[in-house]
Every structure is written in structure tokens, then in C-alpha cells.
Symmetry: C2
Subunit: 406 residues, 2 copies
């Protein structure tokens, strides 16, 4: 066995000589640790650091003020935990509270510089930012849907379709439910749209959408369905480093995000899916939902194609931003009243609206709901705590999916 151990050591060195610390550092620093009492301990080894803090959406929210373009804005942000230095330069912080079952992201701030947790390989990218992931599942709680269980798993595929609007091939993420590959049955399709700056990866990484689908289907709480995660930035081929353009840094200031191109071209995605997968290709078996910019896209794709979707979900929809007024494809955003009338005349099964109480978009969503109320158009509404955050979008997906294709 000794020979094998030496070989193993040599393998380690060979594989990642410049990163061997994490492999060779003895027992290493464990972080994060979910403690038996429900608190969470974070550790960071930095013998020379002066100050080490941790922050993330597991911390209670605090009000803060920032100035942006000369305007003062108040917003809520997570609080900060201060780590204390122990032996061997290992800093530590244990939450003075039980961390509720949920999926969180967090970062350390070491002498003012933000960094991920080097002892946690579970990292999400949120647009241009990397954050470490803390998943606290608990049986019986909603967050249990975000964990992987020993249930039949669907397949998650990165697939390319040709977009005539874009003029190039673009990437989609496609979930096919367990049993799809070796079966012959046809399935309904849910289209799920991301927010500004996001891409076709976002719902699968931060949204835990494929775990949610696996678990809801396994429990019998959702119908087996194909789920398609689009890239709503029509100027992009795909997520960063998956494109022919190389080192594009992810940004929220992409061209052609909320100016009608994506909405106009959306039927080409539906056509691709219906021609490449065993779908039930009719309105009764099609649903669409999206968060923030994706909620905005969902609204206008639905209104401009009143016979395409039977179920539509607007999650913290970015309506009322004024972007429609300078749109390249203005026609997508015109005659909303007429389009609403034709959409509801076609008797959709569900228009679902969800938003957080402190979301900065709640006013525009309230105005939109007032318009629906005044016309007597039916919809389902859910208001949650908190703001414009992934926690809410995961909740909305778990609420929306069981309601569709019944």
C-alpha cells in the first residue's frame, strides 16, 4: 500500500502542482459546517490578515444607502459576520442564529477584498460574480426540493439551435424527465427564462430548477415535462467561455436585452424544441415563466402569441422600466390593452404573478395587477417576504410547476 500512497502523492503533485495546498494541507480547514444545532460555522485561513468578514443571504438583511449616478438609493443588503482569529491563523465565525433551511450564497471579505471560500468547491456564478454556495436542506421544508435525492433523475442537456434573428447558433439548456430517453411518450413543455445578465445556466445553477423538477415529479406533485432554459440575451451565443467570442466578461449591459428581439424570435425556439423532442405540440401543453427580465419577456411573448401558452408565470417581472419606449421592435410592446383582451379571450388556464414585498419592482407589478383587476382578468398572485432575490424565484418555481399541465 505504501507504493500506492507514494504514487497517489505523485499524482496529486502532477495534477495541480500550483494548487496543491487544498490537497496536501493535512486535514484542512472545513468550511462551511452546518452544526447540529442549526447554526453554521465559516472558517478562513489567513495568518497575515487583519480583518476577515463573511456575508451572504443567510445573514439578516440591513438597510443601506448608496449613491448611483448622483441619485441616493436605499436598498437592503445582508449583514456582515466578523470572524475571530484562532490558532494557525484560522479565522472563524459561527452564526448566532439558526440558519433556516434554504440555498444561500456567500463570500468572505479579507482586509476589504471579496473572495470566495477556498475550502468550498461549490461555487455559483451570478453574472460576473462568483460566490460560494451554502445549501441547507431539511426534510419537510421547501429547501428539500433543492437537494438531490435518490429519486429518478431527468437528463440535463446543453443543446444548440439556429436563430435566424441572431444569425448564429445559440445554446439552450434542456431538461428531459426520467424515462424520456428510453420511452416513446410525448411530453408537455415548460420554457423558463432568466434575468438580465443571466444566461442559459442560471436557472440550473442558482435556480436548482432540475432538482426541483426531479423532486416534484418523483413526489407526484408535478407532471413529467420537458423544461427548456433559454438564453434571453439575443446578442449572445451562449454563457461565458461557451461562445466563439472568447473572453467576454459577463455584464448586465448587453445590447438587445429588453428591446423586443428576443420576444420576436421566441417562436423559433418553440419550433426547434417541437421538431427535436417528443413534445405535445399544442397550447394546452405549453407553459412559460421567467424572473425579472425573464418575467418581462414572459409577459410580452405571451401577449404577442396568445395561442402559444396555456400557463404563464411572471416572477418579479421587470415591467414598467420604460425600456419598451426605445425598443428596436416597438410593435412587441404596443397595444397592451388590445393584446390583453385577445389573450384572455383565448382563455389561458393560468396567469401567475409572484413578487417580494420589498422588491423595487412591486409598484409596477401592482399597477399591472390593478389593470388586470379593472378589466376583470383572472390571475393567481403570490407575495413573499424579501426582495429581488433568487430565494424568491426558487419559491415561485416550486409554486408554479405543480399548477401546470393538470
Amino acid at each position: 500500500m505504501k507504493k500506492f500512497t507514494i504514487i497517489l502523492a505523485a499524482l496529486c503533485i502532477g495534477l495541480s502542482a500550483h494548487a496543491q495546498q487544498a490537497l496536501f494541507g493535512g486535514p484542512g480547514v472545513e468550511s462551511p459546517v452546518i452544526n447540529a444545532d442549526g447554526t453554521v460555522t465559516f472558517r478562513y485561513q489567513a495568518p497575515k490578515a487583519v480583518k476577515v468578514e463573511v456575508t451572504g443571504d443567510f445573514m439578516p438583511m440591513e438597510k443601506r444607502e448608496v449613491e448611483f449616478n448622483g441619485q441616493k438609493m436605499t436598498f437592503e443588503a445582508p449583514g456582515v459576520g466578523v470572524l475571530k482569529e484562532g490558532k494557525n491563523g484560522v479565522w472563524e465565525y459561527t452564526t448566532p442564529f439558526v440558519v433556516a433551511p434554504e440555498m444561500y450564497t456567500y463570500t468572505f471579505r479579507v482586509d476589504g477584498l471579496t473572495t470566495i471560500d477556498p475550502n468550498n468547491v461549490f461555487v455559483n456564478r451570478d453574472i460576473a460574480s462568483l460566490t460560494s454556495v451554502l445549501l441547507v436542506p431539511k426534510a419537510g421544508e421547501r429547501s428539500d426540493l433543492y437537494a438531490i435525492h435518490r429519486v429518478p433523475h431527468g437528463s440535463v442537456s446543453k443543446v444548440w439551435y439556429h436563430s435566424d434573428m441572431a444569425g448564429f447558433d445559440r445554446r439552450l439548456t434542456v431538461y428531459t424527465p426520467a424515462g424520456y430517453e428510453n420511452g416513446k411518450g410525448k411530453y408537455p413543455v415548460l420554457y423558463v427564462l432568466h434575468g438580465i445578465g443571466g444566461d442559459e445556466d442560471a436557472w440550473v445553477t442558482q435556480g436548482r430548477a432540475t432538482q426541483i423538477l426531479d423532486n416534484l415529479i418523483a413526489r407526484g406533485e408535478a407532471k413529467p415535462m420537458i423544461v427548456v432554459f433559454t438564453n434571453g440575451n439575443i446578442s449572445q451565443e451562449a454563457a461565458p467561455l461557451e461562445t466563439s467570442t472568447g473572453y467576454d466578461r459577463p455584464t448586465m449591459q448587453l445590447p438587445q436585452t429588453m428591446e423586443g428581439s428576443f420576444e420576436t424570435s421566441f417562436p423559433e425556439v418553440v419550433k426547434f424544441i417541437d421538431s427535436h423532442y417528443r413534445t405535445i405540440a399544442k397550447k394546452q401543453s405549453r407553459a412559460i415563466c421567467g424572473l425579472s427580465m425573464g418575467g418581462f419577456h414572459t409577459l410580452y411573448i405571451t401577449l404577442n402569441n396568445p395561442n402559444l401558452f396555456n400557463y404563464s408565470g411572471m416572477f418579479s417581472a421587470a415591467i414598467g422600466t420604460g425600456s419598451e419606449q426605445t425598443a428596436a421592435h416597438k410593435e412587441i410592446y404596443e397595444d397592451v390593452d388590445g393584446k390583453l383582451a385577445r389573450y384572455f379571450a383565448a382563455k389561458p388556464a393560468l396567469l401567475w404573478i409572484g413578487i417580494g414585498k420589498t422588491d423595487f419592482l412591486i409598484q409596477s407589478n401592482n399597477e399591472f395587477r390593478a389593470k388586470l383587476d379593472a378589466a376583470g382578468y383572472p390571475y393567481t398572485y403570490m407575495e413573499t417576504e424579501g426582495g429581488h432575490i433568487w430565494k424568491n424565484w426558487r419559491i415561485y418555481l416550486t409554486e408554479f410547476v405543480p399548477l401546470i399541465f393538470k
Copy 2:
């Protein structure tokens, strides 16, 4: 537009309040930058740091000595570049040499602590270590195969199969070539195996295998084929955070890695693929290859199933480690001479062996080749510069794939 800008700002804040630095930091720090003259500049913002270094496999190799379990070992490791502090606490290092076209990984060392590049969202996980990615493609060079081009793209899927050996469902990565989904044709299948500590993600992230396949097929240099990336750690369901066991830290000391279980159970993977995909289910249309532990697996899966694979590739194969002697499934490793005789009697089209000149496994590979030579068994051999590194494994894949299914 002003309203939209404010909304955009609010979106940023809402999305990642604890990581806003990367979104709001003005023009930000650009790193890495591939300069016109072929050098590369790395930058790191750390106003309070005393020393900032960068290292990675783009640097020339240096000899170093380490002590492990009381034994002194000499190994090669990449050199270190020292950054100089400029204004605003931005440290900078430009290579004094042209960085050859290739895919590299790198990390910073800030006052002794290893960290990824916070301005580069392109991160690979190598077992338990995160490293930043530097891709330097160049038309006409091999590294151009690692870049994404506007060619037809295959689909990359995460798929689960049931393993009777493991007793649970396990995850595979499956590449289906462009045209598979909406066609009816049958395809040959290549199985690609990772090294110790790796998983079903490794070849797709660090190996750039799906880009290599897309590009070789588009050039007409490889046949369209299905490619299956297995997880060779039979005790695992899947890559970290994709399993029901939660926060398992990746490790090279997993049980059941090189003791015969994976090799014994491999036919269940082939059976699953043949029953779920449109494969040409015969020896002439099956190939297998693997790196390090995966090369070891490749050898024994091939020898124990002499009529399963027509093409086998051993990349820096971890043979001669002695692990066979304590194996749970000893029979897999017994009677190598007899198995070799039966394997070659069945006239395989290709046994391909590749290894680096300074690989610590070259001696055991030389011994194995001497055995083949003595018996007059044919094989193809490639020796490259360097050691036990991903650069070589990508090269071997680009060499092996054009030779199969001819």
C-alpha cells in the same frame, strides 16, 4: 433611458448585494489580458497586500523537492511570477515571454494564500482545487481545437443510469454529435475515462473534450460519434454537489477507485448506452480511452472484455502502482499475459499509448510496452514533452479521436 439605468442599478444591487464589487467597480480590473505581442498580463487589486504572485502551467517548469511520508521526492512545478504594485493597489505581472497557444490554469498567491483571479469568471475545478482558466487559442495551432467556433455543436447531457454494482443511480456526461437529435442514423461510441479524484465533469471542463469533438468533426477529421464520459469512482453517485450525500469534499482518497469494481461493472454502462441511444452496438464501433487512473481502467476493461472495444487509448496510464494486489476484484487484474493473448487474438484495430517524457509513470509504461514488444503485439505510441498534466491528455485525445471508427 435614465429610468432604465436606475432600474438596472437596482437590479444589480438586488441580485448580488454582497458581490456587487465586480459589477459596480467602474471599468474594473481586467485580468487576464492576452496582449498583441503574445505575452499575457495578470492583474490583482489588493491595496493592503505585501506580496502578490501568480503561478500556473503557462509558466516554465522548475524542479522542486518535497518530503512526503518521510520520503524526499523531486518533481517539476510551474515557476512563479511576481506582480508589482501600481496605482489604486492594482498589482500587475506581464510574462517576459510569449505564452504559447494552449489552455492553462492559474492562481494568485496573495501574502502566501492561494486564490483564484477574482476578475476572471472562468474557473475550473480540479478535484478539490479551483483554478482560473487562461485559454490562448490560435488558428492553425492545436489549441484552436479547444476554442468554440461557429461550427455545428453537439449536445452535452448529464444523464443518470442505474448501477447494479453500486446499488444506486450514477451520472454520466454524454456528447451526441450535431444532427443526432433530429436524425435517425446510428453512431459509434467512444467511452472516455478520467483520472483519480476526477469525475464525469473533468474531461468536459479541463479536457475541453466537447470542443475537440465539435471541431474535429466539423473539419472532417473525425467521424461523428457519441462520446460517454463516465464517473470512475464507483462509490460516488456523481460529481460534488450533484449527489444525495450533500457536502462531500472532493478527494483523491475515495474508496473503490482502482480495485476492480469499476472495471467489473463497466459493461452495465455499455448496456445502458446501447439501450438509450442510437448506437452501432458492436465491437467495430466502440472505443475506450482514459487518463491516468482512467488509462489503468481502460487497460483492464479492454483486457477483460476482448470483444467489446476495437480501439483503446491509454493516456499516461497509472499502471504498475501495485493497487491490483489488494483489489476487491482481484480476478480483473489476474492472468494479464493470457488476457493480452486473447485480446490481440481478437485483432483489435488500435491500442494507443501516450505519455509525457517526464511523467512519473513512464517507467511502468515502458515496462508494459516492452512486454507488448516481446510478444510482438502491435500498438501506436506517442511520447510528448512534460509530465502528468492535462495539456498532454488534451493532446492525446486530439490524436486518438481521428484514428478511430475509420
